[in-house]
Amino acid sequence: MEDIITLDKVNKTYPGAVPLHVLHDINLRIGRGELVSIMGASGSGKSTLLNILGILDSYDSGSYVLDGLPIRDLSENRAADLRNRLIGFVFQSFNLIGYKSAMENVALPLYYQGIGRKRRNALAMEQLERLGLADRSHHLPGELSGGQKQRVAIARALVTNPSIILADEPTGALDSHTSREVMEIFRELNAEGMTVIIVTHDPGVGAATNRIIHIADGRIVDADGSPAATENPDTDV
């Protein structure tokens, strides 16, 4: 299977009076079309890993290749363009813009690609329809239920046709029933070929993915907490 994400000995330290070494030599491979979860307790470094995977933050040493593109020393503009094209973000708190309708929220990434309003809205409607929200397209986020909001957010992540979907605790703000629904959506997207990476601390969510990557104290570990000798993408955990 072709790798879509390759991390090689990635290190990250937050500077300060006492420098905080949050990621130690992270080696990670994720294949195209995988559905994986990254699990760890809070403070384990999983948020930092997510930031680096999402090109939201830089790393100190090592290498990161996303969909064949080396992610290293990018300018703010280049990073913004790559995030826009390659990554679809789904956040715990949905992160929809409150004064924009569902359709406008979904169309927003296309606005930053310079696509005209008509075409933008047409593409946004397509995604909303795919997620069963066509009739809610003109509602503001405040008028939608949590599950609906998260589906709008997923539509926004999909609208640019990205290489990966990066979800940060996507069910953290949802009840268990809605959580299962959202996870079902991710499974369906994955079945259609989309690479989905879910960062979570919820074992139920992890169990719904095809592979779980455990992280503890800035290192990738086995499920029982012992250090993983090598990270092998073909090994199901």
């Binding site: 948020s47 997510l50 930031n51 999402g54 939201l56 933050d57 703010e76 503009n77 990073a79 913004a80 363009d81 995030r83 826009n84 094209r85 973000f89 956040f91 715990q92 708190s93 992160n95 813009i97 004064y99 924009k100 927003l108 990434p109 606005y111 930053y112 690609q113 309003r117 926004r156 640019t160 940060d168």
Partner: protein, 406 residues
Amino acid sequence: MFDLFREIGQTIRCNRLRTFLTGISVAWGVFMLILLLGAARGTVNSFEDSSNSMASNKMQIWGDYTTMPYNGYKQGRMIELRSADIGRLEHENSRVSSAMAYARVDTAKVFGLTEYADCGYIAVYPQSQQSERVELSHGRFINNRDIDEHRRVIVLSERTAGTLFGTDSAAIGETVRCMGLGWRVVGVYSHRWRSSAYVPYTTHKALTGSDDRVSSLEVRVEGVDTEGAAMEVEEDVRATLARSHGFHPDDQGAVWVWNSLRQNIASAQIGNYLVIVVWVIGLLTLLTGIVGVSNIMFVSVRERTHEIGIRRAIGARPRSILTQVLSESVAITALFGYMGVFFGMLILQIVDGLGVLEDYGFVNATVDISLAVQVTVALVVAGMLAGLFPALKAIKVKPVEALRDE
């Protein structure tokens, strides 16, 4: 571009009250600026109005008494201007375009058949039509043949013509009596307050005596637009007369010169200073508005840190964030600025329409389209200024902010 306007519209609608309250201060600043500019314009207009009715490029000269002994003569000698001075002044001074003499007889009465007018007359050369700004409503003014042939022709004011002949147009071709002689009416002029009749200067001289003494000379000047140049021309004129009448060139008392040119240039400069001062005051008033807009833009950026983070995470370049904040600031400033312009103009039009202030030295106290352009430039610059620092703060927001819970 249209998308940007939609974005701005949406964000402004989110904070209507706050935007409105801050906008009021901008609107007030611009409103005051427009009112002050209108008032300044009115004052300048009234300067120009009063100087226009007396021609702005002329100097008038009267003979007086010498104050310095010169060339064997004692001081205190009377200098009498003569019509020969007209030609000399024209020839010896390149900046003098024409010189002429005129005389006033304010006590003369003009008789029609049944009525008379106690208007007096002014004996003039044809050039006086320009220098006195005589606007004819019927017929013609005194011409060169009238001067050469000493014709007894007369130009009446509308008021006099109306008194004598009922209507001002009926007077043309009629004969009036003045100084015991018959005069043909060749023209009728209109003026707000002047009512003297005009007759040819040479005819007047022929009637009142044959020597060539004149009571005063009038000199018209071309191409002078600074106070210094106006002074130079005055000195040149004095020097010419000093040579022909034998008084000391530095004798300031021998002839009395009323240099209206210099006064007009000076008052035009005062007008310019006035407008500059008004702009400074107006822009300083606007500054408080700018500070207000800057302040709410800071608050807005702070409130929307999370939203900016989301936008950055899903692919907004720093530049588009910068553009958004700046244009929002310009939009607020311009929107309320134009409200100020609108109400300012409205007040000026109403006041001008009522005409109540003309007696207090305000003539046509309104502002024109070039001012609208200047104000637009000022507003856009003000808006950019107000938005600059908030925008620079906004682009420092990292995309990681998107992941932080509110």
